[in-house]
């Protein structure tokens, strides 16, 4: 308990950064992932191919490598000025690019569960492809993929800790500061683990209740 009480500001700021990382990259990857899923089912072959290549590459690369690339290698290309591309921004970029590939797959599996008749009926009503997707198919698809979507977001929350290895002062980085101060790192890490359990359990509960409330009876 002493470790937690004596270093409370450290724990609070660490978890605040973690939650900030999580929220920004969750919104970013949901948006990018949905766009990618729309590209993957589009009637234009080029769009489909581009999205497929992106998803295949990103899904099969370790997240640590993506972090490594954006933290160390990407600044060498000088595409954006090094001052505005802090380690925090690098972490967000890596998390969004990586997670959106998984979100894309989840959303696409949801699109496949929407009955064929829905798309056919929208075409019969004269809706364009974009209208059909955004007004008819996607709303139903997103409802049916709530459980895997929340699982992906939980994985994202846990993945934010990798940023600790790349100079972002979030929950995973509490350890190194603790050991600098000479505090007990083992107990500190147990507290960090406990905090994560406390963060993940409400998300699992949310997952169950959303699943019940939003599920489409077919």
């Amino acid at each position: 308990m002493d470790v937690l009480v004596n270093n409370l500001p450290l724990f609070l700021s660490g978890f605040f950064t973690t939650i900030k990382l999580f929220l920004i990259s969750a919104v970013g990857s949901l948006v990018l992932g949905t766009i990618l899923a729309m590209l993957r089912v589009s009637p234009v072959p080029v769009f489909r191919a581009a999205a497929t290549v992106y998803v295949t590459l990103l899904r099969n690369t370790p997240l640590t490598l993506v972090f490594f690339f954006f933290a160390f290698a990407f600044p060498l290309l000088k595409i954006v000025s090094p001052d505005s591309f802090s380690y925090f921004v690098a972490a967000i970029t890596a998390l969004i690019l990586y997670t959106s590939a998984f979100i894309c797959e989840v959303v696409r599996s949801g699109i496949n569960t929407v009955p064929v008749g829905q798309a056919e009926a929208s075409r019969a009503l004269g809706l364009s492809f974009g209208q059909m997707l955004s007004n008819v198919v996607l709303p139903q698809a997103l409802r049916s993929v709530v459980p895997p979507l929340v699982s992906t977001l939980i994985a994202l929350l846990k993945n934010t800790t990798i940023a600790a290895g790349f100079s972002v002062a979030e929950a995973g980085a509490i350890r190194s500061t603790l050991s600098e101060r000479g505090a007990d790192t083992m107990v500190g890490l147990l507290w960090v683990a406990l905090f994560f359990v406390v963060l993940v359990i409400p998300m699992t509960l949310l997952q169950r209740s959303l699943e019940k409330r939003w599920s489409v009876a077919r």
Binding site: V41, V44, F47, T64, F196, I201
Partner: protein, 287 residues
């Protein structure tokens, strides 16, 4: 490919699609071209930065690093499968004193980030006198995390088998252990094989976390090589090469999963899962 979302294009739609295709190609080529220009501009195409590939010692070291990655993967995979089978059986047990602790352990290790576990084993435990090599810490972390996920996958597989299977086995006079080992587990394994292998892909990618606790695996070696001044700090070429090594390994595993699934579907022993089993499998695969 679900072509049901759109009709076979008519003449007007074909022109529109072609126009969009041109726009798409221009955008993709534009992005790739811009990145290539940045590569050229910052000298990433210089022969000096790619020189390192030709050195035999570096090739050997790269291979050693790859072997270290594969070692951690192999050890972690075998132990995680064992851990998963044991704790899935524990969670399905009729005895509350087995079921309760198994549930707590599985849920706990699923909720804690792997990075925190690795830090705990490598930096935390030595403070109470338990020293661990980076390899042991990586394997232990991979086992506990992926083992818990695999336990849930096995459990979902067993629960989604048709009830007639266990009822028939009990009617034949089999004991609980026999029913589990001889009837339920083999079928569940077969049905969940694609999900299990995709979890193994996750495990393979997670070995890269060893980078954070100084395990000498592929990514760590990439960092070391990328910082070498005599090759002009080839961080970008090295990360590209290493990324392709990881992607190739993961795609091989995925191809294996596809092959097994295809073979499975032809087999007479294949059991069709009910819908809840399938959705649960998808939800777990997203972890």
């Amino acid at each position: 490919m679900s072509s049901v979302l759109f009709d076979v294009p008519g003449p007007k739609a074909r022109i529109r699609h072609r126009l969009l295709a041109v726009v798409g190609v221009v955008v993709v080529v534009g992005i790739v071209g811009f990145v290539a220009y940045r590569f050229y501009d910052t000298g990433q195409f210089d022969a000096k930065k790619w020189d390192w590939i030709q050195y035999t010692t570096i090739q050997q070291d790269l291979l050693t690093a790859l072997m270290n990655t594969l070692q951690a993967f192999a050890a972690g995979a075998v132990l995680a499968l064992l851990f998963g089978a044991v704790f899935a059986a524990g969670r399905l047990s009729e005895h509350a004193w087995l079921r309760g602790p198994s549930m707590v352990i599985v849920e706990f290790f699923r909720a804690v980030p792997l990075v925190i576990m690795l830090f705990f084993f490598y930096y935390g435990l030595p403070t109470v006198g338990i020293k661990m090599s980076p390899f042991a810490a990586v394997v232990l972390g991979l086992t506990l995390y992926n083992g818990s996920v695999l336990a849930e996958i096995f459990r979902a597989g067993i629960l989604s088998l048709p009830r007639g299977q266990s009822e028939a086995a009990y009617a034949l006079g089999m004991r609980k252990t026999q029913v589990m080992i001889q009837v339920l587990l083999p079928q569940a394994l077969r049905a969940m094989l694609p999900t299990i292998i995709s979890q193994l892909v996750v495990l393979l990618k997670d070995t890269a976390l060893g980078f954070l606790i100084t395990y000498e695996e592929l990514l760590r070696y990439a960092g070391f090589l990328g910082g070498k001044f005599e090759f002009g700090r080839p961080l970008i070429p090295v990360s590209i090469v290493v990324a392709f090594m990881y992607i190739a390994m993961c795609l091989l595993l995925t191809a294996l999963a596809r092959y097994l699934e295809k073979r499975n579907r032809r087999s007479k022993k294949h059991v069709e899962l009910d819908d809840t089993g399938k959705t649960e499998a998808v939800a777990l695969a997203a972890d």
